[in-house]
Symmetry: C2
Subunit: 238 residues, 2 copies
Amino acid sequence: MTAKPAVQALLFDVFGTVVDWRSSIIAELTQFGARKGLAADWAAFTDDWRGLYQPAMEEVRSGRRAWTILDVLHRESLETLLVKYKITGLGEADKAHVNRVWHRLKPWPDVIEGLRRLKTRYIIGTLSNGNVGLLTRMAKNAGLPWDVVLGAETARAYKPLPAAYLASAAVLNLEPAQVMLVAAHNGDLAAAAAAGLRTAFVARPAEYGPQQKVDVRADRDWDVVADSFTGVAVAMGC
Amino acid sequence: MTAKPAVQALLFDVFGTVVDWRSSIIAELTQFGARKGLAADWAAFTDDWRGLYQPAMEEVRSGRRAWTILDVLHRESLETLLVKYKITGLGEADKAHVNRVWHRLKPWPDVIEGLRRLKTRYIIGTLSNGNVGLLTRMAKNAGLPWDVVLGAETARAYKPLPAAYLASAAVLNLEPAQVMLVAAHNGDLAAAAAAGLRTAFVARPAEYGPQQKVDVRADRDWDVVADSFTGVAVAMGC
């Protein structure tokens, strides 16, 4: 029996795990709407926007569509929703600004302290379906102290395809078992574990709002189970 | 006549521009040799090691050799030099440790302050022939506060091939003219300029030791010419 190698890098799912996309976007769209004199159910709009995320990526994952970054997929979904919600009169600059709300998402309250502690001992980085440009700007806006920003371009594959996990470990010159994925989503962790990575679940039971039904708790005995990044730091000896 | 777009990102050549590879390696090999009872002209050994860098990359650039990362090229060169310098008796762990000296290079004295100032206003990152794993570990060891680590894997092309510059701008979702390359090497800047990037020269007249003949000064009217990273920061309004 061979012992597993020590973890050298913790890589993080971003949307939902690091940042509270739903509250961030609702707050910004509400302000934007008030400024522009636009009325809409911005919570429903936000949930719809996120709802179009998986189907848009699935077109790429399936091979039906050529490689396309998330900024572009977000923009296409935005155009669809502006029609659905009958929001008119926005120019290109307004639409581009709204689409970049994904670059301005706010972290959950425990994130910065947890990352700072983990960074003292491990390489910390992203393992996200976001594009590198989006993730880099989000990190600058939010003060996320990543050592390395790995996005969907690292493998040109969207999670949960195995290549997304394997390429992220490889680009750091690590074996999969030397990398731990931290995520609030059991499905993401299941795919990471199947690719040989270690796993840490962080509960974000309000990611989808007060009615959230999925991923409210760990559904397997992941290597680490915590309810905050500081909890992960403690579990990892930081 | 169209005005150039504003610079959004400063990307840095690393070996020689950010870190003083020569002094760092000589110092470490001297200590290592003393500890192991090995005698050699470590300055000559270091210069030879760097001397094998361009020929090794040229095998890959030319297409004669499949894509290979710098950690591997450095290791092959190290093996060559251990034979040349008749250094025997090193085991795998010793050789791996010595090869990772490239992960432990020290920055020039002006680097950290200059980067911290530039980071307040621009995306700062690497645009290096180093692999991402090497650059990430170097940054952690040296405290380099990069927003994003872009290595040779970003384009799978070694500078000065145009793809290396163009892919680094593209992965940040920027036009080439929105990116400035900072380098101590006129040839690197010439290739960047030909690809449409902005250019900043920082003189590192002792990179190759006291006898340095090349790149002691800017040989063209680059967008910025400075003798330190703090000088670049001042020129860029930081």
